[in-house]
Symmetry: none
Subunit: 230 residues, 4 copies
DNA sequence: CATGAATGAGAGTTCATTCAT
DNA sequence: AATGAATGAACTCTCATTCAT
């Protein structure tokens, strides 16, 4: 276990070797593989994606995948996990910024989700998770708890505060979060499914801002939602 | 018939048939098969669904599928087509009923979609189509044109009329339809993916009515949306 | 089960019916089936021929085949048997006619084989038997003994008599029969394999007569083979 | 190497290899596979040969076949192609040797065909092509043009020259080639079909030389064919 | 007798996984 | 560490055979 193949993944740069010029940044390998995998899983689904394709897209051989992941399933889980972290982190940041501004928090959440998740390579993850939920229930449960429920709680809190402070009309809190986020998830899903088959489609920014405008008007009832227009 | 998966498709599975008659009506067969297929495709995706399972769920043998469909792919297409017709027909009916009442048409469309599509076995089709779009581009294009774009046009017309008649504020028509329908699609998708893995979840009626309330308030701006609350 | 559609196909016209005008000759059915089977077996081989096709060509349903034959294999054997009888009978007749005329017997045998076997639907049997020998060894052995060896013996006797009477040169009797018959088998095989794919091909009569001319010249050495030219 | 089936194809089966190395030379593989395939196709026909058997005979797994060939059909075509090249090449060589000696060319052609084709593993190809012609018309056409017609032309030319130079009697050139070669094809077919089921059978050399003797006597009419008797 | 819907064992084919190099 | 040839279990699809009508 000591001097066999010498995994060089993490730290110590191979003890006695003097110069080693070509060494990928630290170890980007696993991330490259999960990124390639994620893209293909999103596009075609888990079962329809061949390891050959993933390997080819990552520029390695099929066997190499098994140096980093135990199985196709493990690769799937890693890809999801990888793609889920940004979402979690992004959520935390928002609370700090808009902790006491309900309207800003809602607007900020939606815009941030689109910018940092929906419009990126991670935008396909919701579609992927919905599609594979029955095949990977543990992963789906993890995703639900670690990502969805966290976001749901965040949004709900924001709206609750808005109601408490009189900025928002009273609305049913138990359903407000999915109502606010689902149009964005839908757009992200659309762009990762049917959009590539058709031309054009809606303009994301217009879609996003119209959504924000609409729901804030809806939430604020007669009261004018604050004038900020980005 | 209890409270499990809520299947509303035609005959399918024939409840308690322990003796399997060797020769059944040749006519109902295809629908039974596509119904079984659709349920499984929605649950697990196309590639992860085995023909064995479909046959078993339909109460026939594997070979029987090939008496009615040329291939797994043909069965998939037939299942989609079968599940798509109700949506098309339902749309037409609405225009007749609410042709000149924008608010009623929007509310009617959303409620009808949920009742006749979203809450039935067909509610999984959007998820399925999004998941398989890249693998079945022609089917996805057909679905987009025959179902989505038609519904989009219907909703857009309704809103446009509402704006013209002063009932609605001016909003961006190019994005309004997906904004109105996506929460419902999301709920249907949710019920066909993660919901079975977790308990409870949101109450569909509450979700639906809150959505309607929210967007109509959003659309009507300061004006009171007509009082109907169901 | 009585007065439904009134099948009129086969035999007894429905028990109590008085006149029964349309009744196929005795029972031609089995022969029709074996004939259809033989034609297809010859064309495509045993394994590549589907029972559907045979049934279709015979104008019956697939199930009907099983009323007359226990299995595809049984049908094959029956088809061969059926197609082999004429060959056996034809051989007997020749001996009576040309018993003491070696040249006439050789010439008669070759001409008769072509006319009664090679140029008919039975002409494909040799090809079929050669192709299926390994898959149906018993049938092949039967064919070899009942048909081939009998013909071989006949021809050899004829040549032996010709040599004894000084009409023919001495030649190796153990190989003379296949040498005499193989060009005809080859032509029959050709017509049942490659000929249908190409145009034209050789003229059978010219081929046959040239063969007869050639081998009789070869057998008669310097002596003039008797002048008969058909 | 004893007296059984007389296989002369390349490597094939590798005699006594009880330990099967996991990785073998990627280069010899295809020939080993086509050789195994050809032997079985000849024996049992295309449809009756299972890929399992071919793989087993070649000492590989079923999946390995698909590393080298796209389908069973592709393997069939490759096997034919592989087995056809020697025949083509052998033909060319003969013309150089016997270009101006009709008797020698005819005799040389027949002897060479038997030695290099008929008595080898390739001797089963004619039977195979005749059997599968209807199922693989393109292959049959290719075989006809690339092999048969070329040989036919060669023999016809030889005889034509013999007639022109007065060595041979005038005979119908359009049929002479198949008449000369068909006894050899027949013998080769026989050895690949019925012979294995019966004992003994004719002696190939005796058969061959008697054929040559007979047809040369037939062609030379009264004239003595040159004395060579091997 | 005749049919043809239904069956299920078996064949061709795919692809995740292994391992000698 | 990386490769890719090889594997074999699992899948789709075919078709001889059965049997209710």
């Amino acid at each position: 276990m000591a001097g066999t193949a010498g995994k060089t993944l993490p730290t110590a740069a191979k003890a006695g070797a003097e110069v080693r010029p070509r060494r990928r940044r630290k170890d980007a390998r696993p991330q490259e593989l999960t990124a390639a995998a994620l893209a293909l899983f999103v596009e075609k689904g888990f079962a329809a994606t061949r390891l050959d394709e993933i390997a080819a897209r990552a520029g390695v051989s099929k066997g190499t995948l098994y140096l980093y992941f135990d199985s196709k399933e493990a690769l799937f889980k890693a890809a999801i996990e990888e793609g889920v972290l940004p979402a979690i982190e992004a959520g935390e940041a928002l609370l700090d910024e808009y902790g006491d501004d309900p309207v800003g928090l809602v607007r900020g959440f939606l815009r941030a989700w689109w910018e940092q998740i929906g419009s990126t390579a991670y935008g396909g993850i919701p579609k992927l998770m919905f599609a594979e939920a029955a095949n990977f229930p543990e992963v789906a449960r993890y995703y639900n708890e670690a990502v969805i429920q966290r976001g749901v709680a965040l949004l709900r809190t924001a709206v609750a505060r808005g109601i408490a402070s009189g900025v928002f009309r009273p609305v049913e809190l138990s359903v407000i979060s999915p109502l606010l986020i689902s149009p964005l998830i839908h757009l992200a899903t659309w762009r990762n499914s049917i959009a590539p088959l058709c031309g054009a489609g809606v303009d994301p920014d217009c879609y996003l801002e119209t959504h924000i405008d609409l729901v804030l008007h809806g939430l604020c009832a007669g009261k004018k939602p604050d004038g900020e227009q980005r």
